[in-house]
Subunit: 174 residues, 2 copies
Amino acid sequence: MDIAAANALPYEDFVAIFGNVVENCPIITAAVWSRRPFANLTALEESISEFIDALPQSGKEGILRCHPDLAGRDLQGGTLTRESRQEQAGAGLDALSSTEVSHMARLNREYKERFGFPFVICARMNDKETMVRQLSERLGNEHAVERGRGIEEVKKICHLRLQGLLLTDTRNKL
Amino acid sequence: MDIAAANALPYEDFVAIFGNVVENCPIITAAVWSRRPFANLTALEESISEFIDALPQSGKEGILRCHPDLAGRDLQGGTLTRESRQEQAGAGLDALSSTEVSHMARLNREYKERFGFPFVICARMNDKETMVRQLSERLGNEHAVERGRGIEEVKKICHLRLQGLLLTDTRNKL
């Protein structure tokens, strides 16, 4: 789909297609539909970023809390969103040893107890080793810093998901 | 569940249980988790209302756009959320004649073309006759007035859903 086709969509179809570019937060896509037409993918992405940035801190933490754990029970139980399943599998998180799963679970638990939201990282820009290292390192951050880091990762994930959905648009620009 | 039990929940369980008190907007429940403990149902409800009120207009319209049509394709196709299915069925919308379904579809379409969001009304406080009458009447409203009316209805729906989930708490107050 190219951006002109996206701009022409009624909100139901726009939300059905783009509603999960921020995981489990269709309200964001549904809100920025008001700002169409978008000149290109970047303009749509910027509208989403602005909406996120204007939320109160609790709202930003709310976004993070709508994300699943990495290599967590949703991956094991098959209840991830399609996008997250592909991304986590692509990073090799569906093929961890039981020791690695336990290690990740312990770090995730520690992180959530410390911050009150899950560790969010763009799986498609990392592999399991860098994710585990980041998780360990980011555990040492201050609360506000880490909220900001999580939101940065949300935006990277959003960027790649938008690119996947607006492929034709990307090709047009090459 | 009573409010003390709700206050003690980790965010995952809190969002799993209360995440749909505003239809398809788990981010709102996930955000207000930051404000616990809540003294009672009313305090939780007020936190949700304050979060909604602080959103930009596009965000309020985003909430409305996360709602299904009344007696629309999600009801016919079985893809409503559990809560919406029960509420629409309780108001008799699953037993409309084909003429009534067509009439409702026409009004819904007209409403969405005019406002860019769906007609939202608390089905449990209405029956099919009052809903059709309201839909026809509200079609004449100004855009901003109607956005406000829709959000009022979202809050009524939220109130009743919270009451259903915090029944023990309600009994405690009798």
